[in-house]
Symmetry: C2
Subunit: 616 residues, 2 copies
């Protein structure tokens, strides 16, 4: 959606909205950390985010990548910055094309700073000289596809302090097709409001978004202010100087100063605030809290985050398996021509991407992962790790990127019990029988609706137990399952192929929405990823180490089984299946598999040929 | 589905199945009556039905039409008879093509009787001489698309009494590609079983279906037996002779004789019985009841009858408006390339057929309709007619082809009340909050499922009341509506276009099924049909008559409004909207509309351009 349209909506509703600016971090780990932070900051409810332009080869590619991930994985409406610095026309074309295919529809067109080695800005041969040229070029090339913003300089810019002249330039940029203005940071509201008046007097009517820099530390506050040459009001200096060596106090005082500034802007009729986050969440969040503009509750359109990728905006059905690995799901499905809308449809046609795509394997270095997950010596150690994850004492597992969600609170006791018995739980959801769509834990979708879930669990089960478990399942006509090991030995009681909706919602005036399904072909794609992640984990340890042997052994012999209780009135229908099942000698080192009979005589048995299941 | 596949299934399950044979009636009224009967006999659960070939121009076209209607409107798996009599190859081609496009996949290939004017059968120039030639031609032309059956003559046929020679012919027909055999009628089980043994000895292994003629009257029994030259066992004559002048007693005795015969066949290993119904239901039903093979309950795959038309077999979503006019819905959508499966989808693309297609207008002659619906002189008379329909005292209304369904039993009191106040109810369903899919009234779909409905009502409302009604509706965020008059003045509170699922089901291992929706574009198509049917009714009366004037006046000024209560937990959420609303002077002749303000200031208001609604 265009930023100018969002601003118009907010202005009509007299609602204060806000946005966050991020820049491409220097290291791969920094990028990953920022993604995690962007994911959490989605919960603050920004109208959009900005990704600044990383001038020069690798950095500019990173900007494009980040725009794509923000749009498609995290569902953040994203504005891509684009500068003329060091950019020939062909590079501009490439960047716009990437933004287009990421589903991005907003560009902030800038001239940019001079390249590092030069003092004065020079245009690149075959490139653009002024931001207005870039604006015009984007308009000429893409018509109204992109909303194009430009920068406003209330206190002059680096190489031009004459603000009147800069307003002339601004007028030219707007005349060239810009539809909104984002200003440089400032601290003096009087200067800003005076400048806005001048801009309006000059006949510029497009929305003006003030750029707000929250205060993180005293040093960074001073550095930024000096660098941007903006005026610091006397009372700011007076308030900050006495606490300058106490970071927490600086943030607290800074919060008050920035909040007061924002309130004055809102009182003056400004409805949107743009925060220069410096890739940090805390200071910005403190100001937003103080302004009381944070949403009470993250209102969820679907149980999972809707993607804003090109062609993906209507996607509203996904398999449950990737619930804790959304980036991987988006990556493995990115080449689909069409995304499921309303129903999953024929599951055979779309192919899941290969595992070697960027972002599928285990995140983090071996050292980091060993620090997180320790040196398990026995299945008991692994079981304990899973128990600690369930209890919120470990933040991730090889198959779960994020801490355990409060959605499984009602199952926690049962999950802890299963794990402590060596039955490792990978994914689960409780049954939900038509609670309000505004329910604090299970709610999603429009108001006045009702949402449902079938109880679901996915566990990694020892070959000792799998036969007995499947026998128990097949006694209950309400329960369906798929079990598979690394060697693609698949068993299921799902006679017909076809998806099983495990989450759905009923809303006024709408068709039924069924955003989460369980289905054979995608389970097999998930299975590959599951065992690969386990192997990645094993490889964190030395080749001859007990941990390596233990985890490899689990991956080689255990079964991944998903179980759906189809009667969603049954809150605790799945756990009884496991009554009395447990692994003998849980704490034996090098846990040995008894029997080792990995081919079970369970019907219906599906054999795999070229990953296409055939019932026999 | 192929008949031979059905027979194989039934044989494996050791389940007795049966089928019905109908012939094309001579008059249009006869055809309509037979359709109604076929519709009711669907409830008996036949595995398939046969339509015999009406040799000669108009009659052969009627066979094709009936096959199409049986398949697509009534969802009956149909076998089309086809004879060589008077059929050049081009006519055979034409008939096969029609069967193909009707979704019919079963043909009974016959030589046929000699044309009426001739005594001896002769082949037509450019046609086929023997049934075996026809079998071979169908196989050569359509491969395995059609299952092809042939006739078996246990007691000889019209021009050939040598049963051994006829078994040779039968062998040739099977060798040419026939996959099942249907026998001529017979009464002597010993003769039949002896013949079956001979057929098997001859190396013919395809299934043999005995043709059973239930006894309707003594005269028809004698006529049929004489005509087919089949042997009547002595005990039959002995049992029937004494009661031959009492039709009811003949049917009762005949039921016993035919049932005993069928039981012997079943004991001898026959699993399928084919009934020559003579287009009558009663005698056949009596035998089926006696054999205890009638289903306890019509098991419904969907709330409405699934069509077996070509391309329609996967159709599983329909608008609710045509619930009482399924033939018309099938006719008006027959040219669609795709039918909604899983979701209604974009409602703008498919166009509904024109009203002048066969089968859309009011059925029956003016005299018949006047007999049914009387000479209403005032709105009160119309209201009384609707009340009597609700009470089951009138079998149809211009907008409802069939008697009131027991589905609305729980609403009956409220519906009678509304109609008695001059608010005419056209269609309705109660709210259903997740009852079992095997529920005797509301159940449909596979076992172990749960079905839901939103409360729905469609009423014809006087312009006096419509504004107040809409004002009340718009106070309740759970209620959505569309109101429209003949002049396409549409009002609705459905902001976004898009279908509203009003019936849905949740089943083990399946996506949510949502077979009934309410939606703007199809409501407008239904509206055209609704007012047209009302005008057809008006035209049953003389031009200057009070009834004509009254009904035309209703059609010209009243609003058709559909109302959905989106909270399906509310069993009686809609009726309170009408509290205290009623028409003044209900029994005033030539009911005059007070005010006559037919353009209401209600938002959102949709204007129509080329039947494409645009919100303004």
């Amino acid at each position: 959606m265009h930023i100018s349209a969002k601003l118009e909506e907010a202005a009509k509703a007299k609602r204060t909205t806000f946005s966050f600016e991020f820049f491409p971090p220097k290291t791969a780990q920094g990028v990953q950390n920022l993604y995690d932070r962007m994911d959490r900051m989605h919960g603050f409810g920004p109208a959009f985010i900005d990704i600044t332009w990383g001038a020069g080869g690798r950095h500019s590619q990173l900007t494009c990548d980040m725009v794509k991930v923000a749009q498609s994985v995290y569902g953040l409406e994203t504005c891509m910055h684009l500068t003329c610095t060091d950019m020939e026309k062909s590079k501009i074309d490439e960047a716009l094309k990437e933004a287009y295919s990421a589903g991005c529809t907003n560009i902030l067109a800038l001239r940019g700073d001079p390249p590092r080695e030069k003092e004065k800005w020079e245009s690149t041969a075959g490139g653009f000289k002024y931001a207005k040229d870039l604006v015009k070029y984007i308009r000429d090339t893409y018509g109204n596809h992109f909303d194009v913003g430009v920068a406003g300089y209330a206190e002059g810019c680096d190489d031009q302090r004459d603000t009147d002249l800069l307003i002339d330039h601004l007028k030219q940029k707007v005349d060239a097709g810009a539809t909104f203005i984002v200003t440089q940071m400032f601290y003096d509201v009087d200067i800003f409001l005076g400048w806005v008046q001048k801009v309006r007097d000059r006949g510029i009517t497009v929305p003006i978004i003030p750029g707000i820099m929250p205060i993180h530390t005293h040093a960074s506050f001073m550095r930024r202010a000096t660098w941007s040459k903006c005026h610091i009001p006397a009372e700011w200096t007076k308030a900050l100087e006495p606490v300058k060596n106490d970071d927490a106090a600086v943030r607290e005082v800074g919060k008050g100063l920035v909040t007061t500034m924002c309130k004055r802007l809102i009182d003056a009729g400004i409805t949107h605030l743009h925060f220069y986050t410096m890739n940090l969440a805390q200071s910005t969040r403190m100001v937003l809290e103080e302004l009381s503009v944070l949403p009470d509750l993250e209102s969820k359109e679907l149980p999972w985050r809707r993607s804003l990728g090109l062609n993906r905006r209507d996607e509203n059905v996904r398999p449950i398996f990737w619930r804790n690995r959304k980036a991987s799901y988006v990556a493995r499905t990115q080449d689909w021509d069409e995304f499921p809308n309303g129903r999953w449809g024929d599951s055979r046609s779309p192919a899941f991407g290969e595992l070697d795509t960027y972002g599928i394997g285990l995140k983090g270095t071996n050292e980091q992962n060993i620090k997180l997950w320790g040196h398990p010596q026995s299945l008991k150690d692994v079981a304990d790790l899973f128990v600690r994850y369930m209890q919120g004492k470990v933040d991730s597992l090889p198959w779960s990127e994020s801490p355990i969600s409060n959605e499984v609170d009602s199952l926690k006791e049962g999950l802890v019990d299963l794990n402590s018995r060596g039955i490792l739980t990978i994914n689960s959801q409780p049954a939900v029988n038509g609670v309000s769509s505004t329910h604090p834990v299970h709610g999603w979708g429009p108001r006045h609706g009702f949402v449902y879930q079938k109880a679901y669990i996915e566990v990694l089960v020892s070959p000792e137990l799998i036969s007995e478990l499947i026998t128990r399942i097949e006694r209950n006509p309400d329960i369906t399952y798929h079990a598979v090991n690394k060697h693609s030995d698949l068993k299921s009681n799902v006679a017909e192929e076809g998806p099983n909706a495990v989450t759905w919602g009923v809303f006024p005036g709408k068709e039924i929405v069924q955003p989460t399904i369980v289905e054979t072909v995608s389970f097999l794609a998930w299975k590959d990823e599951f065992f690969r992640l386990g192997e990645d984990w094993a490889k964190c340890y030395d080749a001859a180490s007990p941990s390596r042997y233990l985890i490899e052994n689990l991956m080689d012999t255990y079964y991944l089984i998903n179980i759906v209780h189809n009667d969603f009135h049954e809150t605790h229908g799945i756990f009884p299946l496991f009554h009395g099942l447990s692994i003998k000698d849980l704490d034996m080192p090098f846990h040995k598999v008894n029997g080792g009979d990995s081919t079970l005589s369970v019907r219906p048995h599906i054999k795999l040929h070229d990953s296409q299941p055939v019932l026999n």
